[in-house]
Symmetry: C2
Subunit: 142 residues, 2 copies
C-alpha cells in the first residue's frame, strides 16, 4: 500500500471513519503515526500501545464487526502547529435492528510529522445513557 | 490563590494528584489551561468542556469523595516542545475496606503556554478486570 499523506487532522479523521466502515485493517493502520508510542483505548478496554497491540485490537474488532458505521457529532477541537486534539461522540446503529448501544465519547490526538498528519492516540469510552455526573451538561433533561 | 507556574508536565501531574488527595477544588482548577477548550471525561461520564463544566464535575466528585488517593502506574509518555501526552493507570483503594473498583485508564494532554505547562484534557475510563482484547470479546460472556 502506498504511504498516504494527510494534509490535516480532518483528513486523517475522514480516513479513520472510512477504514472503520470498510473494516479495512491496512487502511486503519496506515493512518497512525509511525511512533511506537501510539496508543488506543477501546470502550471498556485496556490501553493498547505500539503498532502490534493496536493492530491486534482492530483486527479483533473487525473480525466481529466487519463494518462499523459511526455517526460523528458534538465535535470540539484544539490545535497547535504540530498537534491537534479532537473530541467527539460516535453513535453506532446496529444493522440488525437492535437498540443502539449508546454513544461513545472519543478523544483523538493527531500529530504532524515529516509525512503529514497522523493519529497518535485514540481514547474511547461509553457515555452514560443519562448524565450522572454533572447536573448541567447537555443531555440532562427535565 | 497565586497563579502557579508549572515547569514541566510532570509538575502538573504531581499537582493534579495532590489536589485529588486533598479534595482541593481550587488547586485542581488552577492546573488546567485557561483555554475554554479544556475537556474532562470522568469514568462512565459525558464529556465536560470549559472551566464551568469541568469545575462542576470535580465539585460533584469531591462532595462525594473528599479525598482520593490514586496509585499511578503503567506510565507512557509522548512529548513535543509544546504538547505532552501521558497515558497511565490509576488504582484507587477505598478507605472502608471494600474491594477496589478496578483500574482507571487515563489519557492526559498537557500544553505549554506563556504561563508554563497546564492540563488541557483528561480522558478517564474504567479498565476491564481482565484484558479483553488480549482475550477477545468485550464483556460478552456465555
Amino acid at each position: 500500500m502506498d504511504t498516504l499523506r494527510y494534509a490535516s487532522p480532518d483528513d486523517v479523521e475522514t480516513a479513520f471513519y472510512e477504514a472503520l466502515e470498510k473494516g479495512d485493517l491496512e487502511a486503519m493502520m496506515a493512518l497512525w503515526a509511525e511512533d511506537d508510542e501510539i496508543l488506543c483505548i477501546h470502550p471498556g478496554g485496556q490501553r493498547l500501545s505500539g503498532h502490534g497491540q493496536v493492530r491486534h485490537g482492530w483486527q479483533e474488532i473487525f473480525s466481529v464487526m466487519p463494518s462499523l458505521s459511526a455517526q460523528v457529532g458534538d465535535r470540539q477541537s484544539w490545535q497547535s502547529a504540530l498537534t491537534a486534539v479532537r473530541s467527539l461522540t460516535e453513535t453506532y446503529y446496529p444493522a440488525d435492528g437492535q437498540e443502539p448501544p449508546g454513544d461513545v465519547v472519543v478523544t483523538h490526538i493527531y500529530v504532524r510529522g515529516a509525512d503529514g498528519w497522523r493519529l497518535l492516540a485514540r481514547h474511547a469510552s461509553m457515555a452514560p445513557e443519562e448524565d450522572i455526573l454533572a447536573g448541567d451538561t447537555p443531555r440532562t433533561l427535565h
